[in-house]
Every structure is written in C-alpha cells, then in structure tokens.
C-alpha cells in the first residue's frame, strides 16, 4: 500500500525540514519519495495544512488501579453525558480522544509492579494509539534493603532490569523516593536528605541508586523522578537539589510545575519558576515535563501517598481514597483549579513560565500530568497559550493581578513556533524514550502522522486533526475517528543476571505467599495479537 500526503507544510525538526513537501508512506513506514511518476494507492491533499509526526505524551495517567479508582470514585464527572468529562475517561474514550488530537503514543508513568497486569490489560483496551508504562520503584522493601545492605550497583541494576521485564515497562519512575515508606512509620513530611526509618536510606541515595541502576541496565529512558515535597510552598529548593544531584547522568524530572513554589509575597506563596528554568537550562543531563495546571474540575491521581494524604482536606468534591500499598500505594483526590484562587493562578503561571523560560524545547516536555494539572483534553488550549502571546495577555488580564504579580509571566513575550511545538511534542519525547523511529517523518520512521488545518486559532487547530495516520493507516479524518485498531504497548527488554530470578522467586514466596509469576506480565495474558513492541536497550 503506497500512500501520499501531498502538498502540506511538513514540520519535522529532526530532519531539519519546515516547508511544503509530500510525505510518502509504504505500508507502516515512511519512505523517501519514490521515482517521479509513481502512483500512490491513496493520495491525501494537505494543501494549506501542517504535517507533523504523531505526537507523543510521556506522562499521562491513563491506566492502572489508581486511575481506575478515580473512575469509580467520580461517577458524576461522566454521568451527564457519558465520557464527556476528561479526568475519568474509560480506556476506550482515552484512545479516541488522544487520536483526535494527533497523539499516537502515550506513556502511563506510574504503575506499581504488582499492578502491572491490570495496567497492561487496560492499555490493551485503549484503541488506536500505542502506549507504555513506567514501573514504580523506590519505596519498595526489596530496593530499600538492597541499598541498606549496600549490595552495590549491579544488584540494583539487575533488580531494575528484572522489574522492567516482569512488568513489560518502558522505564522506571521513582515517586517521592522513600516518602511512602516513611509515611508508614508516621512521617508527615519527607525531604531529599531525610532518611527512611528502619531502612536507613535517604531519598537522595534512593534516587541516585535508581538513576545508576536504570543507566547501567541500558534502559533508554532515564530515571523518571517525581521529587519530594510536591505542591508545598518553598519546594523549589527540593527541585533544585534534585537537579543538582543528576550530576553527569541523565535524569528526567516530572511535572516540574508542582515544584516551582517559593514563599515570598503577602500570602507566602510565589513563583520560583525563573530560578528553576535557569537551573534546567544549565543542567546538561536534565529534562523535565511541566504538568501545567488549567482551570476547571479534575481529579488528582498520584502514587505519592504522603502528598495525597496531606492533600485530602482540599478535596472537591469532598471525598477521596488513600491506599497504603505494598510500596508506594497512592491516593485519589478530586480537585478543582479555580481562576479566582490565588494559589491556583500562581500554579498556572509557574507552568507557563517553565515552558517559556526553558530555552531548549528538547528539554521541556509538554504535559499537564493528566489528570493532575488538567485533563489531556485541555492540551489545545495550552498550545494556544504557548503560541499566541496576545491570547496569553488577554487571559492574564482576566486573572487576579496579585497572583500574576508573584510570577514573571506577564513580562515574557516568547511564542512557540510550530517547529518548537513539533520538537517538544514529537522529537524530544521520542528521543527521551529511546524510540528512534518515532517523533519524526524521515524515511524509515513509523508512519504515525498528524495533519492539522493551519488555523490561527491554535486551540481549534490542535483540538481536531484533519487527518491522522497510525502505522500508515488512516485513523482520523476531519476530527472523527474513522478506523479503530488496537495499538501496541512499548516495552524494553533489558538483560539481567539469572540469579535475580531465583532471588525474586524466594522473596515473593516469603513475603506474599505467591510467586512473581502471579504478577508477571506476558503476551499470553493479553487478548490481542502482538500486544507488545520491543524497544531496544541503549548500546
């Protein structure tokens, strides 16, 4: 099958292209333009339209026990018109909505290993797009024992590789390293150099051990860090300390917006985004995603059980679920960000400052930490804020001036170009996840392509793609999904010593009474053909 997308403006920064060109697809791959006179089996006219690779979301909570608990907790959010509300979409609706916006790969970033089967089952029911998970380590008894007993880097890296293999994950995330374990011993706050009771490991030691472990295991995606002290005034110091701790190995900091807070001003809550952005600009090995806040009803879904426990008093509506899990656990706390609330407006400004003050769009990835800052369905409005300074100024004018004054946002004139958007939402996430054949439109790339009308209203443009191709197949046309297909879950196969297998069997049997095979993900558990796609390790 030969397909041609003809005459669109191709925005493909990986290959240095921004101009009118044809994109040719043979079956599932993009190919170099064939010899003149070649006839495509299908031709799509993209004149006047923007052609980009399919977008990639590296951090969106779309599956797993916590996300599902949020669905069950909040029937009223989708009771009026089924599936109408963002925070609690069904698996099916999740895939549909992402595809409409031209997203073709989405990573669920927080799955406890014992919940991996459920998460992969849920993702297998998300249509159209490809997906993957990050497995959570860092509050688990096994790792804390390894660190405590100083068993060395190889032991940690074998455990990382084993976990990735058992859960079929794309990488590892650490969430409030040590904080959930300390909470079980009644800690109510936990900072980067605090030590976990009973285990004697500090948060810093856990993060460093995992950072090295992930690197040595050859996992392409660097350790994905959710820092301590999320959401607290003055927590910029935690983020700065974590950035500095990256040293000379890659580290990804998730939803940095939630750590951009100082204590200045009459209310003791201010933006420190400018300092944070400067630190990110200067840290060669650090990437971040933003976790932008947008105003409206949502639900916070987090495996930072300590943070969610402390935050439950702010629940809106007033109900919540807190889970002290085997390791991280988590919490579901519905929340409404208000454009009239001082703190919420500062949070909104911090996110935009990070986007606009971090210079390299390869280092700042586009997320709302769905649904924690906002549902992913708010992305189009966020693109508009980044790409249109007049629109931004109008929005700011309607917000409380005292809150805006706590940030530098009003003074920033930068506008994202289409090429920068393509870098931030395509090239950078593909590179960060080690997906060489995604995020660009060069020959050999997977034919995931999004075509948008070049609308001055950028929100309208990105809300509904004109055409989306997944694996070369047309799946969206004029804002409607025209073809449902099942994507694959991306997973890394990292080599590890066989001794860890036996060790984990013994540990599981002793601790849980059932072996690791009960929670191990395998293709045979997923009722779809070829549910997984292997991502190679770094060489």
């Amino acid at each position: 099958m030969l397909t041609c997308i003809r005459g669109g403006r191709v925005v493909d920064p990986v290959n240095g292209r921004d101009g009118i060109a044809d994109i040719w697809i043979r079956d599932a791959r993009i190919i170099a333009p064939p010899a003149a006179g070649s006839r495509a089996d299908a031709t799509y006219d993209a004149t006047g339209k923007i052609v980009m690779a399919g977008a990639i979301d590296i951090h969106s909570h779309i599956a797993g026990a916590n996300v599902n608990a949020a669905r069950l907790l909040l029937p009223e959010l989708h009771a009026v018109e089924a599936h109408a509300s963002g925070p609690t979409f069904s698996a099916f609706e999740t895939g549909r909505r992402y595809a409409l916006m031209g997203f073709t790969t989405v990573v669920e970033p927080a799955i406890s290993p014992e919940q991996a089967i459920q998460a992969q089952l849920e993702l297998a029911d998300v249509p159209v797009i490809d997906k993957g998970i990050l497995a959570i380590l860092g509050n688990d008894d096994f790792l804390l024992n390894l660190i405590h007993s100083k068993q060395g880097a190889n032991a940690v890296s074998d455990y990382v590789a084993w976990t990735i293999e058992a859960t079929r994950a794309l990488g590892i995330k650490v969430i409030n390293a040590g904080g959930a374990a300390a909470f079980k011993a009644n800690a109510r706050a936990f900072a980067f150099d605090d030590v976990v009771p009973f285990y004697g490991a500090s948060s810093r030691e856990i993060v460093k051990a995992l950072q090295h472990g992930v690197h040595h295991a050859g996992v392409p995606h660097p350790l994905h860090v959710h820092c301590n002290n999320l959401g607290l005034p003055g927590n910029v110091d935690t983020a700065l300390a974590t950035i500095a701790a990256a040293e000379d190995l890659p580290l990804h900091l998730a939803h940095l917006q939630f750590y951009g807070y100082g204590t200045a001003g009459p209310r003791g809550f201010s933006s420190e985004a400018a300092r944070l952005a400067e630190a990110v600009n200067g840290a060669k090995h650090v990437t971040i995603d933003v976790g932008q806040v947008m105003f409206g009803q949502t639900v916070t879904v987090s495996s930072d059980v300590l943070r969610q426990f402390n935050g439950r008093s702010a629940a809106h509506p007033r109900k919540w679920l807190i889970v002290d899990g085997d390791a991280n656990g988590g919490g579901i706390v519905p929340y409404r960000y208000r454009a009239t609330n001082f703190v919420n407006v500062v949070q909104w400004a911090v996110g935009l400052e990070l986007f606009l003050l971090i210079e390299d769009p390869n280092k700042v990835l586009f997320t709302t930490d769905h649904p924690n800052g906002a549902p992913f369905t708010a992305y189009p409005e966020l693109f508009a804020l980044l790409m249109d300074r007049e629109h931004r100024a109008e929005t700011i004018a309607d917000l409380p001036a005292d809150a805006i004054a706590m940030s530098t946002l009003a003074a920033i004139g930068r506008e994202y170009s289409l090429a920068e958007i393509a870098t931030m939402t395509r090239a950078a996430p593909a590179r960060l996840l080690g997906l060489a054949d995604r995020g660009h439109l060069g020959a050999g790339a997977l034919a995931d392509v999004a075509v948008y009308a070049d609308d001055r209203d950028r929100a309208a443009m990105f809300r509904a793609a004109a055409l989306v191709f997944k694996d070369g197949e047309l799946v969206v046309r004029d804002g409607q999904v025209t073809r449902y297909r099942w994507g694959r879950a991306l997973s890394v196969r990292a080599p590890h010593a066989t001794a860890i297998e036996r060790r984990m069997r013994d540990y599981y049997a002793e601790r849980y009474g059932i072996g690791p095979e009960a929670v191990r993900v395998s293709a045979s558990l997923i009722d779809r053909p070829d549910p997984f796609e292997d991502v190679p390790c770094r060489t």
Partner: protein, 375 residues
C-alpha cells in the same frame, strides 16, 4: 455428559449458541448478570452488553457498592493484605463473615508473624462483635481480645468508639464503658493499625463509621482499613467494568452510552419488575443461583453442577478459572489482578470463549451492533 442444553434437553453446542444469540438479539433490555467470572470473561461480557444495549450487574454488586458508596461520598484509607500482615502492630477485626470473605485469614494474616523491624512486641488483635466463636477464624494460633456484643449493636458501638477516640463523650452502648475506653486507648496507641471487615457483613453506615475512625486515628498515628470484598471475583469484575465503561457494575448501555445507577440497573429489580425479559447468567466459580422470583428466558453459562429451579432456556457448561483454564482474577493475597494457572486443564469452554461464540452468532447485521466499542 452434555455441555449444552436447550429447554433442559441436551443439545449441540452450535444450536445452543445460536439459540442464545437469538434470545439476546430479540430482547429489548437484556441483562448480563451473575458475572462470576475471570477478567477475560468479564471483558467479553461487558463488550457483549455494550453491543446488544444491555445491562451489566454482578451477583455481589450490593456488597461491592456498599464500600464504594462510602468512598464516593466520604473517603477511606485502605491498605493491602501483605502490609496488614507484615506491618500492623494492632488489628481491629470488625463484625462476622471474615473467614468467609478470606478463607486464609488465619494463616495469611492473624497467625503470620509481623516483620520484626516494625513490630517489636506482640501484635494485639481485637475483635468487635464476633457473633461467632473465635475458632471460626481458625484463630487459636493467636490470642484475640474479644469485645463481645450483639451484632445488631455494632453501629452504636462503632459510633461510641469514634467519639471516645476523638475524646468526645458518648452515651451507653452494648459495650461496657471500660471496654470501650480500653479499646479506644489500644487503637490510639497503635503505631500501624489495620481494621479488617467483610463488606458483605456490614452495612454502609457501619463502614462509613469505620472509615471515620480510621481517618481520625491518622491525626496522630497510622491506621488503615482492609475491607474484604465478596467472592466470585467481584473486585476483579469491578475493575473491568471501571476501565471499560468508566463505571462500576449496575451499568446500562441501553441508550447507547454507559449509564450507572445502583437501583435502576439492579438485575433482580429489572427482572422482578418486568423491565427486562432476558438474562445471561454467568457463574463460573460455583453453582450460584439467581435471586429473583420471576421466570424469564435465561441463558446460563455455569459450572457443570448447577441446578436451577426451572431449566434455563439455554445452558452452556463453562470451566472454572484457575481450575479448568488459566485466568486473571483479583487475588485476595495481593489485592491486585493476578494470573492464576489452571490446576487441571480441561477442554471446557471459558466464559470468554462461550461469549465469543455467542457474539459471533449475533452476526453483524442487527442495529444493536453499531456500538463504538465493537472494534
């Protein structure tokens, strides 16, 4: 022995499948009920209900929704079975039905030695309102401090306990004031306490009161709940309903979108009221019987030894998950969806396979097939 019957008479599987498809296609509001099945069976059942515009309900939805209603109106702090066993220095058992909900409770929780790093001394176990001898827990292995009271007084006792933990006065209850004081002091002194109850045995008010006690105790110490769900993989089916429809069981697809209502979409009410006139009954773990009074055309996917008051219109024998075939179900030991391997594989159809055959017999022509989820 036959594995398919029509009107109580042995039939060819193809004929039974065709008859089932015919009944479902002809129904205005088919109900997929029972739902005692593994994850694959539940996925197939929900997808079928979406396709034919039916309702999904589980035989234990009442107990599932009782706990869920507390969470979705108030809040709850819970933990996992292994954290309870390893970390808890104090266990508060509440009400009857614990061993029924968790047959391994004696050795998996009560008799298990906690991790010595966290629990230095002896673990204290209190049981409020047993309503049954301690031996029913198989708990002679541990010493249980029983706070005996009549089960009907449980809510008042829990209310008084909550008041005393918060330092508020309370009226007289079935418990002596001293016993109440001692229990409140013991719970407050816990370092990591866990309250254990069976959702099927308590009402929503009792669960909400327990949730309040747990929340209040967390003002100064750590305390969690360990609600024990009902059997027949109800918790696993709950998860499947959640991600497939966005809602728990008792959800209807009759109007083309998912709608959840614990009263409207209660299978028993729908059938006894005459709103629904066709049932697909699924019970693959044991020979569970429907609890409605009215006779309606029924397609039953059940284990072999099921007996019915009246023979179902169509009956197809299915295998047991974890016995006849591999499956995925909510594990009591892990509180998560876990794989279970067949203990003696047999050629019996799984629920998922039986539904797949019925679904394909529905064909693609009828209007009800136009649901988006048919992909």
């Amino acid at each position: 022995m036959a594995d398919a019957w029509i009107e109580g008479r042995p039939a060819a599987m193809d004929a039974a499948v065709a008859e089932a498809a015919k009944l479902l296609a002809a129904s205005r509001l088919p109900v997929v009920a029972g739902l005692g099945t593994d994850v694959a069976g539940a996925r197939a059942a929900v997808a079928l209900a979406q396709r034919i515009g039916g309702v999904v309900d589980h035989m234990h939805a009442g107990a599932v929704l009782r706990e869920l209603d507390v969470v979705r109106t108030a809040g709850l702090i819970v933990t996992t079975p292994s954290e309870a066993a390893l970390r808890a220095d104090t266990l508060l058992l509440v009400g009857p039905g614990l061993a029924a909900a968790w047959p391994e409770i004696a050795h998996a929780l009560l008799g298990r030695a906690p991790d010595r790093r966290w629990v230095a001394g002896r673990r204290r176990v209190h049981w409020v309102c047993p309503g049954a001898p301690a031996s029913s827990l198989g708990a002679e292995v541990v010493s249980i401090e029983r706070v005996g009271t009549d089960p009907t007084h449980l809510k008042a006792v829990l209310g008084a306990l909550r008041a005393r933990i918060a330092g508020r006065p309370c009226g007289r209850t079935a418990l002596s004031p001293q016993a109440l004081e001692d229990l409140a002091a013991a719970l407050t002194a816990a370092r990591f306490g866990v309250a254990v109850w069976a959702n099927a045995a308590l009402d929503a008010l009792a669960i909400e009161m327990l949730g309040g006690i747990i929340n209040d105790l967390n003002a100064t110490t750590r305390f969690c709940g360990l609600p024990l769900g009902p059997s027949d993989n109800a918790q696993g089916v709950l998860q499947v309903c959640g991600w497939m429809s966005g809602f728990p069981m008792r959800t209807s697809f009759a109007r083309g979108v998912a709608e959840h209502d614990p009263w409207r979409f209660d299978a028993r009410r729908l059938i006894d009221s005459g709103e629904s006139e066709c049932v697909l009954w699924i019970s693959a773990y044991r020979a569970a019987q429907p609890d409605w009074e009215r006779d309606v055309p029924m397609i039953a996917l059940t284990v072999p030894d099921a007996g019915f008051r009246r023979p179902p219109r169509v009956r197809i024998t299915v295998g047991r998950p974890g016995v006849d075939h591999d499956g995925i179900e909510c594990s009591l030991a892990r509180g998560a969806l876990c794989a279970v391997a067949a203990t003696r594989k047999s050629p019996a159809l799984s629920v998922a396979q039986a539904i797949a055959r019925i679904t394909s017999a529905l064909g693609s022509g009828e209007a009800a097939a136009q649901r988006t989820a048919s992909c």
